[in-house]
């Protein structure tokens, strides 16, 4: 099966977003109120890009089958 590089990119972008967002209060360069909100909105943009890569490239909808469909509550139980 061909490897989808966008799966990797999805996680790279999301982790970078989370790291840069969480560490904003520790970032020595963000000392003014303007810096706080420029950074916040930039992070919102980066997080948005990560989601776009996720849903359109990395993890798009895939083909599925409803074979074996059951009515509610009819799936096999061992207990």
């Amino acid at each position: 099966m061909e490897k989808n590089v966008y799966k990797t990119w999805t996680w790279v972008l999301e982790l970078v977003f989370l790291f840069l967002a969480f560490t904003a209060p520790l970032n020595p360069l963000i000392t003014t109120k303007a810096g706080v909100y420029y950074w916040t909105f930039a992070m919102m943009g980066l997080g948005t890009i990560a989601i776009l890569v996720q849903i359109f490239r990395g993890f798009p909808p895939e083909e599925y089958s409803l074979e074996g469909e059951t009515k509610m509550g009819e799936i096999h139980r061992e207990e």
Partner: protein, 481 residues
């Protein structure tokens, strides 16, 4: 002014009731699938607007805006949370929807009970989440009741607003189920967006415009505290907002109602836009209010105070916004809890042979019971209510690791799920209700709870025998390769 307010409220309630009633006429049949998941016919607008409306409760319109007013720097964590939430919604939704469509699920418990092969686990989760979540329903009646009472100068008793809202919300939810909830949520979202648009212009005008707001916004509240002092509060807000959307039963079950996977994908994208719109609205409101009406306490009165001071003619509109926020969260909570109690407790553990008709009837009775419970609590207004409400989202998010495990991790086991969930709830409740949490803010206790939850879930799963491969494949190998 009071007459106009009452007239608008009556029109609003009448229109909402009519819309919910009309939604019933669009039903696909009188089945439990229709009642709980709209018979899998909802498009992306319904999914996104419904999630957004449920997120923007009466508490958002009053309380959250107040928190942004008092400490906007800490609320950058809220912004990170609304940007992360759709990512998690898609991780869960793209697999959950397929399984839900295939095995006719309408709650997370449906999947958890089936995958982990344990009715006891399923029922325990449903009952614990319901217990912690039920008081939250009452808040959405209290805000509108209090506001109406204050706006009338005390001439309209508090209970009138609470009863009116509870009756309308409960009636259309019982009648139309999830379909009525979705349609009315679209209306509530539009009302709130238009209302905030007007309010933002009003408050910025009162504060002297954008330039003056930005120049006068105090660094003390708008910038981070030195030496990383804001780190934990930012993380805390991120956590509660980021995980709440995929965790709270009042909105997370929207992942099951879509007509196809592409609707979920578009719904997630539209949710991203709407959730971030709520963040931007809250920032703009918070900044401008901090300059226009500084020093208001408690901060949840700040929007009302600004309207009274600068534009009292907008009070009726604000009232409708609060009612719309409350109604959208109330109906979603009732249908979510109704689904869990009906499906996870009654359908699977009390009357497994129940017919569609019986389940449908019981679901309506339980939805009614949820509405009555919320109203009784709202009327009693117990002083400890806020104490318990604080734990609703914190506890509800503890089933997310189990969901991820069921959808993606082949080594997840029933023992691991038990250990993770119970420890997560116990730790969260401990730091929420018993001892002071070392992490500040609303997300402190659930951070600790989820960390312990994940660790025990993984360690115990690894230490116990793996589940049958064919069984796991039923849930995790759902796509054609």
């Amino acid at each position: 002014m009071l007459a106009i307010t009452l007239m608008l409220l009556i029109i609003y309630l009448g229109f909402t009731l009519a819309l919910g009633w009309w939604a019933y006429s669009k039903r696909t049949g009188d089945t439990e699938a229709e009642f709980f998941v709209t018979g899998w016919t909802t498009g992306f607008i319904g999914i996104a607007f419904s999630i957004a409306a449920t997120f923007a409760s009466a508490g958002y319109v009053m309380g959250t805006i107040g928190v942004f007013y008092g400490n906007p720097a800490a609320l950058t964590g809220y912004a990170f949370g609304t940007t992360f939430a759709p990512f998690l919604l898609w991780i869960v939704g793209r697999r959950l929807w397929v399984l839900g469509r295939k095995y006719h699920y309408s709650t997370y418990g449906d999947l958890l009970g089936d995958f982990y092969q344990s009715e006891k686990l399923r029922m325990t989760i449903a009952i614990l989440v319901s217990i912690f979540f039920a008081p939250y329903l009452a808040v959405n009646l209290m805000g509108p009741g209090i506001l109406l009472n204050q706006a009338s100068g005390g001439s309209i008793p508090y209970w009138v607003g609470a009863v009116a809202m509870a009756c309308v919300g409960t009636i259309y939810t019982i009648r139309g189920g999830m379909r009525a909830v979705v349609w009315t949520d679209i209306l509530q979202t539009l009302i709130m967006i238009v209302g905030f648009f007007v309010l933002i212009f009003m408050v910025f005008g009162a504060a002297g415009g954008w330039g003056k707001v930005w120049a006068d916004l105090p660094d003390k509240i708008a910038a981070y505290k030195p030496s990383g002092g804001s780190f934990w509060i930012v993380l805390s807000w991120f956590w509660i907002v980021g995980f709440m959307q995929a965790g709270n039963p009042d909105r997370a079950f929207r992942l099951l109602i879509a007509k196809d996977l592409y609707s979920i994908r578009k719904g997630v994208l539209a949710s991203l836009v709407l959730l971030n719109l709520w963040t931007i609205i809250a920032f703009l409101m918070g900044w401008s209010l901090a300059v226009a009406v500084p020093g208001i306490t408690p901060t949840d009165k700040v929007v009302g105070a600004a309207i009274v001071k600068f534009a009292p003619f907008l009070m009726p509109m604000f009232m409708i916004m609060v009612w719309a926020g409350g109604m959208s969260t109330l109906d979603s909570g009732m249908i979510g809890l109704g689904a869990m109690i009906t499906k996870d407790v009654y359908r699977r553990n009390i009357n497994p042979r129940a017919t569609e008709k019986q389940v449908s009837n019981v679901s309506r009775i339980i939805t009614l019971a949820c509405g009555v419970f919320a109203l009784v609590v709202a009327l009693l207004r117990p002083p400890t209510l806020w104490f318990f409400i604080a734990g609703a989202a914190a506890v509800a998010m503890q089933w997310i690791p189990l969901m991820i495990g069921a959808l993606y991790w082949k080594r997840a086991t029933t023992a691991g799920a038990w250990a993770g969930f119970l420890s997560g709830v116990a730790i969260t409740a401990l730091f929420k209700y018993v001892v002071t949490c070392p992490i500040p803010g609303p997300g402190g206790a659930p951070i600790l709870g989820m960390v312990v939850n994940v660790i025990l879930f993984v360690v115990v799963s690894k230490a116990t025998a793996a589940m049958d491969e064919k069984h796991v494949a039923l849930y995790q190998d759902i796509y054609h390769k």
